[in-house]
């Protein structure tokens, strides 16, 4: 049995690792991005000088040979599903018994005039990082289009190299299409604090070239011209399915798979950023483009390849990010504005860099989700509380148990509870005391 995986990102690698743990199937991973697996989320740290390339490889180079996982550093040019074979860019042919397509994403480009100029790019791959080193060398100012998670990373990267950054954000606040106003305002404030420029409710109209075909300025929808030598395009990503388009593997926006991550072709699977999971209950198809979902899908896929039949279910949602110096965690679901039948409790620290939002059901007061900035909360604790439908009151009274902050950090639980009591007359919640067993 020969398992071939196209793509050595977190999804492909997780699939290979779990398959290897449980079977001695022959495994080959093909990638044209990098020879060895690296952490995509850590690309920014290489540019900022926090780490070297070798530091962002999650496994040492000997790991793959020792675990009998063959790595091929080449580009797949075509897939023959009938012959069960792949062709590589050196024209060699690879036969497979089972195939995993885990080709990840590509940067969105919306056909802006000038988007192909020198000095205009997205940030997704190792090649993008190498291009950035070239494009942003010795420049003074940059414009970043798109107010999301990659945008803030790219902004931080350029800022760390002393380049002045201007963000063009479509929404009225940073990442406000996802974050509720208060949190989005906090992030926006923090960006300004760092002396970056934030242009809100502004869209890109076109990018202007200089005489060498390099970007010299952008023009906004308000016809403002902003001079810059670099434009970062970070308005999100879409599945990278170029390779699959001309095969008989069905695609939509991504590679179409069922909840077992199987495509329409037997023995061909897809998972991670590039997969579009068809909803079995008639809901919207899911494309999940996070590190965490890529990892979870890889785990499920590995077990399905080994003959189990497990539906992919991401369980209680979670995600995390860091906006410059402010860490963000979210568990459960927090919509950007409360929906019918839901209520919100929001607390913000006076310093304006720490906040907590709890969303709960109006009827049974069960906790539905949490947004937290600047405080670390225990993942497993909140997951359990959400699953067990614990009430908002229970969560607040036990908030101390979920605290994951380093030792000696100032605690905010009492202040949070006081605010809730003030806002809910008649409630007199008190913090649960520390267990003796936790002290000794």
């Amino acid at each position: 049995m020969h398992l071939v995986i196209i793509g050595n990102g977190i999804t492909g690698i997780t699939t290979a690792r779990i398959v290897r743990k449980r079977s001695d199937m022959r495994i080959t991973i093909i990638s044209s991005e990098s020879k060895y697996f690296f952490s995509r989320t850590a690309l920014m740290y290489v540019y900022m000088g926090h780490m070297k390339w070798q530091n962002i490889k999650p496994y040492e180079d000997w790991f793959w040979e020792k675990n009998n996982i063959k790595l091929i550093y080449a580009h797949v040019t075509s897939i023959e599903t009938d012959a069960k074979s792949l062709r590589l860019d050196d024209n060699s042919i690879i036969k497979f018994d089972k195939l995993v397509i885990a080709t990840g994403s590509q940067t969105n480009k919306f056909g802006w005039p000038g988007q192909e100029l020198i000095g205009v790019q997205g940030l997704y791959s190792k090649q993008d990082l190498e291009l950035l080193e070239k494009n942003a060398k010795d420049i003074k100012s940059a414009v970043i289009v798109g107010g999301g998670l990659i945008g803030i990373e790219l902004g931080e990267m350029l800022h760390a190299r002393g380049i002045h950054v201007t963000f063009l954000v479509r929404e009225k606040l940073y990442w406000n299409n996802i974050l509720p106003d208060e949190e989005a305002a906090m992030v926006s404030r923090h960006i300004l604090e760092h002396n970056m420029n934030l242009k809100l409710k502004v869209e890109l109209k076109k990018i202007l070239p200089d005489e060498n075909g390099r970007v010299r300025a952008v023009v906004t929808d308000g016809n403002e011209e902003i001079h810059c030598q670099f434009v970062g395009l970070t308005p999100g990503v879409h599945p990278n399915i170029d390779l699959v388009k001309n095969t008989n593997i069905e695609t939509g926006r991504g590679v179409l798979v069922n909840e077992y991550l199987e495509t329409n072709i037997p023995d061909v699977y897809s998972a991670g950023d590039c997969a579009e999971i068809i909803s079995s209950d008639g809901g919207k198809n899911k494309i999940e483009q996070l590190w965490y979902t890529g990892k979870m899908q890889g785990e499920i896929l590995a077990r399905n390849i080994l003959g189990e039949k497990i539906k992919y279910d991401r369980g209680v949602w979670y995600n995390s990010a860091k906006f410059l110096d402010i860490e963000y965690q979210t568990y459960g679901f927090v919509p950007r504005s409360p929906r019918e039948g839901e209520e919100n409790f929001y607390w913000e620290h006076l310093g304006g860099k720490i906040c907590l939002r709890l969303v709960y059901s109006s009827s049974d007061r069960a906790i539905l989700g949490v947004n937290v900035f600047g405080i670390r909360l225990r993942h497993k604790m909140f997951e359990a509380w959400i699953k067990e439908k614990k009430s908002i009151e229970f969560v607040l009274e036990n908030l101390r148990v979920a605290n994951f902050e380093p030792e000696f950090y100032r605690k905010h639980e009492q202040e949070i509870l006081d605010k809730f009591n003030r806002e809910n007359p008649g409630k007199n919640l008190t913090l649960k005391k520390k267990n003796l067993i936790e002290i000794f």
């Binding site: 977190i10 999650p58 809100l200 590190w291 979870m296 225990r378 997951e383």
Partner: protein, 447 residues
């Protein structure tokens, strides 16, 4: 000021402060660096002996200006950017990324140790520089070890300020840095000095056997108790009790960090002056294998040496003659001088700040065994939140591949972990937490 109008409300976004690397800050930083540089210049000039006429003045012009210039420099940094992890350019700058500047500093430091151990007379004029301080503190002239202590303590205190500034958002790091500073200044510098002044044995209350292996040698015990004074007996008792009673208890509750990154002087230097170099530790599996062999060998060496000396002492030297004494001498040379000094500190810029603690320290070996088997300490991983970025491993001074555990959701329990807490500090997703919880279940094996 930026007002955002939406249909429902007006949200004001205005930061409390805007941080900016402006020209006046740059100027102040340069002035601070210049003051530090002038301090080093005076230190160098003092080697000629010109300072011998006015040692106090030159002490302040060298030690004083170096300390003042650098402390002000660190404080100015707080005006430059908001609090948070700022490891920018660490792998780009020459000094911190093992390039030319790092090698130059490594050679200078190593050279300093060679002179200190074997040619102290070359430093006589520096020794004269700290003479007034020595008279004031100890009531007798300075020697090269007192000079070394003065350098060492200055380095810890000044660089502790840097540490506190760098991690000023992190109370664990602030308190820890204050702790190592107090122990270094108090127990390793002032109190031993006062003891000398009072004509008592020069005793370091923050070092015990097996790190300060002499404290359990028969000759040392004989010396401490020779005057029949209570203090001498107390010192012997202290040395034994700290190792036999306090060490297991404290390690059980807090892990070896209570000593290695809160009390110990070697740790104190590594956690302050060594912090800029922590990323240079080797994280490979090979290094870990070497570490286990080497550190446990040193522990065995100390135990055997101590044992031999006691057998020798009990038998009146009949059994072993002078062999055990020679053995102890060699230990002092190889482990004390070569390992802890030259490789341990001299090579900071090349191998990172904890080479001695990781590969050589017998105390760390003993504490590590306790930490592994009999302790409540662990670094907890927060669910499935790890993104395998590698910051934790990169900034682990002990060379532990932290992310290897974190990315599989497994608690980190390693005998070498000194609990400095930097992995938790640099983690961009808040995945790691140093904790002392009930010992049961701290090994959460995952498949």
């Amino acid at each position: 000021m930026n007002y955002i109008n939406s249909s429902s409300q007006v949200i004001q976004i205005e930061p409390f402060k805007i941080y900016n690397q402006n020209n006046s800050l740059e100027l102040i930083k340069k002035i601070c660096l210049a003051v530090t540089g002038i301090g080093f210049l005076f230190l160098l000039i003092s080697l000629t002996g010109i300072s011998n006429q006015l040692p106090i003045l030159f002490f302040f012009l060298s030690f004083g200006l170096i300390a003042a210039g650098s402390v002000f420099y660190f404080v100015v940094l707080t005006k430059e950017a908001p609090t948070g992890i700022k490891n920018n350019k660490i792998f780009i700058d020459s000094l911190s990324s093992r390039k030319t500047a790092a090698w130059i500093l490594g050679v200078v430091l190593t050279g300093f140790y060679v002179v200190l151990y074997w040619f102290p007379e070359l430093m006589q004029n520096w020794i004269n520089l700290v003479n007034p301080l020595s008279y004031y503190l100890r009531g007798k002239p300075a020697d090269h070890w007192f000079l070394y202590g003065a350098f060492y303590t200055t380095a810890v205190l000044v660089m502790a300020v840097r540490m506190i500034v760098k991690y000023r958002h992190n109370r664990y790091q602030i308190i820890r840095s204050i702790s190592v500073s107090i122990f270094q200044l108090g127990l390793s510098f002032i109190i031993p000095g006062i003891l000398v002044k009072l004509n008592k044995p020069e005793f370091y209350f923050n070092y015990f056997w097996p790190l300060k292996f002499q404290y359990l040698f028969p000759s040392e015990i004989k010396y401490l108790t020779s005057k029949g004074e209570a203090l001498g007996y107390f010192m012997v008792f202290w040395g034994i009790a700290m190792f036999v009673i306090a060490t297991p208890i404290l390690t059980y509750f807090f892990g070896k960090r209570w000593y290695c990154s809160w009390v110990c002087g070697c740790g104190g230097l590594a956690e302050t002056a060594g912090d800029p170099f922590r990323q240079n530790s080797d994280k490979s599996l090979k290094a870990w294998k070497l570490e286990r062999w080497s550190i446990h060998s040193v522990l065995v060496f100390v135990v055997v040496t101590t044992g031999l000396l006691w057998i020798n002492s009990a038998t009146g030297g009949k059994v072993l003659g002078t062999i055990s004494q020679t053995f102890a001498g060699w230990y002092g040379f190889i482990i004390g001088a070569l390992f802890s000094g030259i490789i341990g500190v001299g090579f900071y810029p090349i191998f990172g700040s904890r080479v001695w603690c990781r590969f050589g320290c017998p105390m760390a070996a003993a504490l590590g065994m306790l930490q592994k088997k009999l302790s409540r300490f662990r670094i907890t991983v927060n669910g499935n939140q790890c993104i395998s970025c590698g910051n934790c491993s990169t900034y682990c001074e002990m060379g532990i591949d932290v992310k290897w555990y974190a990315q599989r959701g497994q608690n980190i329990i390693r005998s070498s972990c000194v609990g400095c807490g930097i992995c938790s500090a640099v983690c961009p997703r808040g995945v790691l937490k140093l904790e002392n919880l009930p010992a049961a279940g701290r090994y959460n094996k995952v498949d």
